[in-house]
Symmetry: C2
Subunit: 150 residues, 2 copies
């Protein structure tokens, strides 16, 4: 479905939204460690998002990534679009190029509405809202505890 880059990106942004702030930046290493994501790979993904103003960053000591209020108004769809591109949600489930409401494939009538409601959700909910209602935070609170961070 989504590429790993997108998934990693979304998880990282959600983590940022709930933990970082303009006054408290978070670096790639910390995010990667907390989320069990390969750090150099995540870095590249975060740069893409930063370039498209979906997240913010500052360099130097105590630098890192964070979310402005503007960033928090972005949607998860924005992240996916930035990393994987639009086409992710435009393909027919069976890959028929001409599949549409007029010329539906055999699962179009069931797949298409499902896709629409998922898309609707991904486009309308803001990162902020998503982060607030998130109950499962991150992979490895255990790790933080083991590290002594918690």
């Amino acid at each position: 479905m989504l590429s790993k880059s997108s998934k990693y990106g979304i998880r990282a942004v959600l983590y940022l939204a709930s933990t970082a702030s303009p006054t408290k930046n978070i670096g790639t290493k910390e995010i990667a460690a907390t989320l069990n994501i390969p750090a150099p790979f995540l870095a590249k993904t975060l740069q893409q998002l930063s370039k498209k103003k979906i997240i913010s960053s500052i360099k130097g000591p105590h630098g890192g990534f964070f979310m402005t209020n503007n960033n928090l108004e972005k949607s998860i769809f924005d992240i996916i679009y930035c990393i994987d591109g639009q086409h992710k949600f435009e393909e027919c489930f069976l890959g028929y190029p001409e599949c549409s409401d007029l010329e539906p494939c055999v699962v179009h009538d069931v797949y298409s509405p499902l896709k629409k409601s998922l898309l609707q959700r991904l486009k309308t909910k803001t990162i902020l809202e998503m982060a607030k209602e998130s109950t499962t935070p991150f992979d490895s609170l255990e790790n933080l505890i083991a590290d002594g961070s918690l």
Copy 2:
């Protein structure tokens, strides 16, 4: 979502279901040409399906692939499972390993039901039923006409 192999496989099986029969086998080349699929690639996929008894084949002159009544009772899910494996439908949309009804990710409540109804459809409808209700047949009737086959 699905791998290309799966998509190609499904389209080929649907084509077989509506066109071939135990007395009228169809070869890889014809299927590939009609569906605009690379022939050697399709061949490999059809072999996998044949080995798992989802389609049937006979070798030699006038040989090819076809569907028995038994084959026609299989589902599209069987095809996907044979080619891509189960895990295709078990992953969390955002890739959280521990995502579940108890520990849902932020799109779990919307994604999970959608996935279930799609799966339900893919598992319960037989190939035969699918083929019958299919209105969009294949990519390139034009090609066949241009070739003089029609």
